[in-house]
Symmetry: C2
Subunit: 240 residues, 2 copies
């Protein structure tokens, strides 16, 4: 006589939140669309404003909508990107569930594969973008605000692998390594000399899958070796 309990003791705000979520999943609200206003939702669901607000707050916390205040405000459906995965990974890292070393090793495992796939699918337009990005790297040294451009080649390759899951994971790892390492090693740009992506790009443009994998692995090994100076405390512990 067990396992009979559930009976549904659903919280109103969860029900509202779920219905809205499914509406988004069904495509009834597309990225950029505005959900009904609080007042409308109150009338539709016949619940209090508190319930509606908690429901929308939950959607916001899950990264599904963006709330804007004011006359043209409301809850707008967000374009889902890899940032959500990145945030989750950050949470796990800060909770001590993953070390920096593990993230680096994961990147070392996955990014060469991505580079190989990119070589497989490289189009002339993409090749052009890669070359451009690589040439611009030398210019970024004197513009601190463009430091992020240093990773542009990596992001481009991630986009070229033709697999959105791997793209998302790879971008998450790239960003994670970047943000974490720059927190206690602000001079990361110094150890990132221009021209180091040349061999990777050559292989990718040539469509040399194995070569791209190898070049990427070597590049990462070299780069990660330069990060060794970081205190081992930071590598395995939490940072804030």
């Amino acid at each position: 006589m067990k396992n009979f309990q559930p009976i549904k003791q659903v919280k109103a705000s969860d029900e509202v939140s779920n219905q809205l979520r499914h509406a988004i999943f069904e495509g009834r609200y597309l990225a950029g669309d505005k959900l009904p206003s609080e007042r409308e939702l109150i009338e539709t669901f016949k619940v209090s404003r508190t319930v509606v607000r908690e429901a929308i707050k939950a959607l916001e916390a899950r990264g599904l909508v963006l709330i804007k205040q004011g006359a043209t405000g409301g809850a707008f459906v967000k374009e889902l990107t890899f940032e959500r995965l990145t945030n989750d990974c950050k949470d796990l890292f800060f909770l001590g569930k993953m070390s920096f070393d593990e993230i680096c090793q994961a990147r070392l495992s996955i990014e060469p594969i991505v580079a190989g796939l990119a070589a497989k699918h490289c189009t002339p337009e993409q090749a052009k973008l890669l070359i451009e990005a690589n040439d611009n790297e030398s210019n970024t040294l004197e513009y601190p605000e463009t430091v992020m451009l240093r990773s542009r080649v990596h992001y481009l390759l991630a986009d070229m692998c033709n697999n959105r899951f791997l793209t998302a994971i790879d971008k998450s790892l790239i960003q994670l390594v970047g943000t974490i390492s720059s927190q206690f090693q602000p001079d990361t740009d110094k150890i990132h000399p221009p021209g180091m992506h040349n061999s990777i790009i050559d292989a990718v443009i040539a469509g040399d899958e194995a070569g791209a994998e190898k070049a990427m692995r070597e590049h990462l090994l070299e780069f990660l070796l330069l990060l060794e100076g970081i205190e081992s405390d930071y590598r395995n512990n939490k940072v804030d």
Copy 2:
């Protein structure tokens, strides 16, 4: 003269939510601990009950706490696991941001690496567990409720790779492929004959890294080939 806007326009509920989140990250509240009750938080933060509730709701939506009501109720810190990553991946899949094919291909890329790492770190105890799980697979055919045990070898290997990030991603992929494929192909168990993991396990126990990678790749190719019968509509479209 751009990029000057921020100035901090923090919402009270976000501020409360963030402070609680950081408290959890700092280890001031461990898994299982109860956060202060609503009343206490109201006094601590000097805000209204609504604000506190919205903040906690946001933490719940992010999967950080579990809310229970009643005399012993409250917001309890959850043990973070890979399930959160899995849920995010599911959201992305349902939103049409990833196809089933992409998930399968990602698994095909990552799981062999994981198997290789497992071979590298395999201990005698883990070898024992693997053999046990493999032997039990033949028994699961007549017990429908134990179908999940069929994936046990995969989960064990994921746990053995000594990299919690790869473990999380791999488990997410295993579970995703399982839940999605079983939705429109309930007979997945039929096409999963016992003994097919033998060569993988042999290589892992022998510590043969390259062999384990190869065996896993071949196993997955074989398995995924058997899923070809699935309507291509489902493979690229949304399911609910």
